[in-house]
């Protein structure tokens, strides 16, 4: 096992880790915001909305993430050749980079998976608390913000930690569309040094460390739930 290459390629790994974290944070944040919308939509009385979102989550959870990324990057990308106007547009810098396609795909994926998780959590909050809040005259939005969502999130904390680690793992798929994230950096080092295992092992350790940090982070935030009287 030879790790001498680390001193030469250290910066590549750091840049890769940076891209991975950016993907994680961007898709985690926007995905979560969308997930709230998806969860509430699924629970709404509007049949159209609820069924439509059910199909949405069903498709996103029923197809591989890699296929979703390819559909977006190659599928949508192939359309650009036929519409040269797009190249002059505002979005072109984003449409050129594989990074943003992966971020978008991950955001949609998070909205579907976390949306389902949130739906379960929201349904599990004891009705009594919601009724009490409404009895105080709180508007529905306030009830959501102050009672319903916080209680659901408290219960879902371990599940959300798990979903975040799964999101971290999913970011590795970016390496398949020429994005030099952490795994992409490992592949680059492998190609340059012709070493097979060492770059992959080092990067595996980095992913484990990141996963531990995420899990610990979730364990620290949030208060302990109240005990039932």
């Amino acid at each position: 096992m030879d790790f001498h290459w680390l001193s030469n390629f250290y910066s590549e790994l750091v840049k890769g880790a940076g891209l991975t974290l950016q993907l994680l944070l961007i898709s985690g944040f926007f995905g979560f915001v969308m997930a709230v919308g998806v969860a509430l939509g699924r629970l709404s009385k509007n049949r159209f909305l609820a069924e439509g979102l059910r199909f949405y989550t069903s498709v996103l959870r029923g197809t591989p993430l890699l296929v979703q990324i390819y559909v977006l990057y190659y599928g949508v990308g192939s359309v650009f050749a036929t519409f040269p106007l797009i190249r002059g547009s505002l979005f072109w810098p984003y449409l050129r980079e594989g990074f943003w396609y992966v971020a978008f795909a991950l955001t949609l994926s998070v909205s579907a998976y976390v949306g389902e998780v949130l739906r379960g959590g929201l349904r599990a909050v004891p009705r009594g608390e919601l009724e009490a809040a409404r009895a105080y005259g709180m508007r529905p939005w306030l009830v959501l913000r102050r009672v319903w969502m916080p209680r659901a999130l408290q219960m879902l904390r371990p599940t959300l930690a798990g979903e975040s680690v799964m999101l971290l793992k999913a970011t590795a798929l970016a390496s398949t569309v020429a994005v030099t994230d952490l795994l992409g950096a490992a592949n680059l080092v492998r190609a340059q040094t012709l070493r097979v295992y060492e770059p992959l092992l080092v990067v595996a350790v980095i992913y484990i460390i990141l996963a531990i940090v995420i899990e610990q982070g979730f364990a620290r935030i949030g208060k302990t739930p109240q005990r039932q009287a």
Binding site: T63, P64, L66, V67, G75, Y207
Partner: protein, 237 residues
Amino acid sequence: MTLSDISRLFLADGWLQALAQGMVRTLGISLGAFVLGLALGLIVAMVKLKGPRWMVVCANCYTTLYRAVPELLLILLLYYAGADLINLTLAAFGQPSVEINGFIAAIVVLGIVQGAYSGEIIRGAIESIPHGQIEAAKAYGINRGLLVRRVILPSMLPFAIAGLSNLWLVLVKESALISVVGYSELLTAGRQAAASTKHYLLFYLAVGAFYYLITLVSSSVFRQVEVRFERWMPRHA
């Protein structure tokens, strides 16, 4: 792209057949990996519940590793390391190296990744078995092997079904990652079709539709199985 264009591409040019063949390979790899994952998971679960200290540590390492590291990275590692290890051990025994069949390699790689997850599910299921049943069996004096085969395995199945059905779906989707190391399955067939015809969006959507089909059919099958197993779950007093 008119409907007739699409039907020509799929039917006359034979791409539908290529995709269908890919789907069969995907199902084959997934089934093999699922069975292997179950076997490994069973071993891991038993080790974690009742094994010697050092084996429990190993099992914990295995589970943590495979749940924290991206599957794509694991597939790459196993793909290279596996071949090397096998050939090293063969060389140690003085045997010539063997060429590893791609299909088997894909099954082994995915199966090992699955083993960590199914281990957790099976462990949780075994812990849910009402303890009285196991105590009664032991009171009858049956030995360890019979205990596992006749009491633990059948009783934990209803509890495990929900988790395992979810795992099957995850596995089918994960099998798409095998295309990155070059094994031929549904996504690879789709890529070849897309690259040959330059109709990327069409073929990748078609691949997605195939996977969705597998997911839908699997889900309904598992729902049937769950309903039937529901009868076996002990009703609490």
